[in-house]
Amino acid sequence: MRSPPPHLLPLPLLVPLALWTSLLAPPARAAVACEPWPGEVSPLPTVSDPDRVNARWAQLRSLELSQLAAPLELIATVDAHRLWSHVLCLDPENSDAKSGVYRTRPSRVHALAILPGAPVEDEPAPDLASALASIGRPLRLGSSFAASRSGRAAPPSVDAGGPAARAPDFGPADRQLAQAETLNRQARFEEALAAAEKARSALPVGWTPDVQRRRARIEAAAATAQVALGRESEARKSFGQALRADPSFRLDVGSTSPKVMRAFDAAKSAVDDPSAQEAQGGAR
């Protein structure tokens, strides 16, 4: 539950990551809301309190509350948000708490975007959390909605119409992919993930090597952002998709953080030997 040790991240990532995490920290309201809860030390200390005993208490308390918060994220999201926010009061640099506060924010705004092209048959979400996490992704309505674009009556279903036959146009997908990779390097992971999702949607349908290589890069960009956002299991799935699209796909060891590399290796092991993973899953 504790933050990953800083030495696990490559140096070029540290500064933007710090910047990013400081941006994610709840601003003024959280600062004024750092009051002790009943039974807590007052005034509420932090882990860097000059008093060793207070600092130790803050450390143990933040760990205790983190362990309570994590399993609550789906069943009592607002409570999880309050817990993560309080952990940030105790341990302002706690990256788990920062991403927890972000993940569990009780009011999230998504601007719906409509992408050109035919509707894509989405895979059903594996669970409720995944379904809720993807609410704001862009939408494709397809050419059958041309009437609606002109303001006339629209057909009701989004599933009408099949994929339009068209020559592969990688431009939109490549632009989104490049943006996702750039945003990852700038440690703007939420935006990077959104760009990767747009790239997914913009990628032409097909199984040609050109499509598959791009698909692998898109999934890897998504996975990198997901690791940074603490969404490890989603990251492993994305890396799995990348490897299934292009089994020769590899990450650059020199510029990839060990945490991302571990997620990739775990996904690769699962792809290489699915039975081993099933056995491991069964053992759990």
Binding site: I75, A76, L132
Partner: protein, 322 residues
């Protein structure tokens, strides 16, 4: 013979006690504050009787037909997005579709504010209904959310509600959307706003954070009273039994300094399990503080203590020992 030995033992014990107790009167007492800094008394539990429920709120008011998103009519885009969200849900999800809009086209805000049309069904069924939701009359999204809040509160389901609103947020009825949203969030619901076109976004929506008070299962846990403290001179402990009991001075571990006999002593704190610290040198005419960090629910349990000399010559004492 046995009686004589017993008598001797009693005399010896008395002498030892006399030797042991003088430490109480040998010099001026020292002040000692004992404080326990603990974690949660026990692991609080959140036991949802039922899993989360998803409330999809689809705005079908006239503004949705006027607004446009990427060239598409807002209502068309909102229907499609709501249908997709419902299709994404696992089949066993408890879901409800709420259509916001007056009963018929041409109705105005004041006709029946917040007249939600709600339907609970498997997500796939609701997806089809969302995809074909008709345009309805004017109505207030804020009032509709207020009605939803009433309904969720009545069922005791607000903390489990995941609300997804598809709307342009263009209120034509002049009500306070932020207040309606705040009511839901403060009661434990979460809201995703999928904004379809529209002119502007109320800044308050992203700032809603549900407040900073502790979650109820944590706040409602009874905190035990400060533990009892006993200070026993080391010499008396060496003799043991009744002597130790006679020499013991009782206090409370509430962080308030109290006088205790100076000299080497063992400090017992009535925690679970009990803690004995020492021997501690209680300095005469000094003020010391013993603090215990106690997290018995940690894995492994943690209990650490530290004693600090706060001042060599205390000006005052906070409270008398008992």
């Amino acid at each position: 013979m046995t009686a004589r030995r017993s008598a001797f033992s009693l005399v010896a014990l008395s002498l030892l006690a006399a030797c042991a107790t003088p430490s109480r009167s040998a010099g001026p007492p020292g002040l000692l504050a004992v404080e326990v800094l603990s974690g949660q008394p026990s692991i609080p539990s959140w036991q949802p009787a039922t899993p989360p429920r998803v409330e999809v709120v689809l705005d079908t008011t006239p503004s949705m037909t006027r607004t446009r998103v990427d060239g598409t009519q807002g209502l068309v885009a909102a229907r499609a997005a709501a249908a997709r969200t419902l299709r994404d849900l696992p089949p066993d999800t408890r879901a409800t579709l709420h259509l916001v809009g007056g009963p018929r086209r041409g109705t105005t805000c004041s006709d029946l504010p917040g007249a939600l049309v709600s339907e609970s069904a498997p997500p796939a069924v609701l997806a089809a209904d969302a995809a074909s939701a008709p345009e309805r009359g004017e109505d207030s999204l804020s009032a509709s959310l207020g009605r939803l809040a009433d309904s969720l509160e009545g069922a005791g389901e607000t903390p489990r509600a995941r609300i997804v609103v598809f709307s342009d947020l263009s209120s034509d009825c002049g009500e306070d959307l932020c207040a309606a949203a705040s009511r839901l969030v403060d009661a434990g619901a979460t809201i995703d706003w999928v904004v379809v076109g529209g002119d502007g976004l109320p800044g308050c929506l992203e700032a809603l954070d549900g407040g900073a008070e502790p979650p109820r299962p944590i706040a409602s846990q009874a905190r035990s009273a400060p533990p009892r403290v006993s200070v026993t001179p080391r010499d008396a402990m060496l003799v043991g039994g009744e002597v130790a009991a006679a020499a013991r001075v009782e206090g409370v571990g509430d962080g308030v300094a109290a006088p205790y006999p100076s000299g080497l002593a063992f400090v017992g704190i009535d925690l679970s399990p009990p803690l004995t610290v020492g021997p501690v040198a209680i300095a005469p005419d000094a003020r010391q503080r013993l603090r215990v960090v106690d997290f018995q629910n940690a894995s492994p349990p943690v209990r650490e203590w530290q004693i600090d000399l706060e001042s060599a010559a205390p000006a005052t004492q906070d409270a008398p020992a008992q």
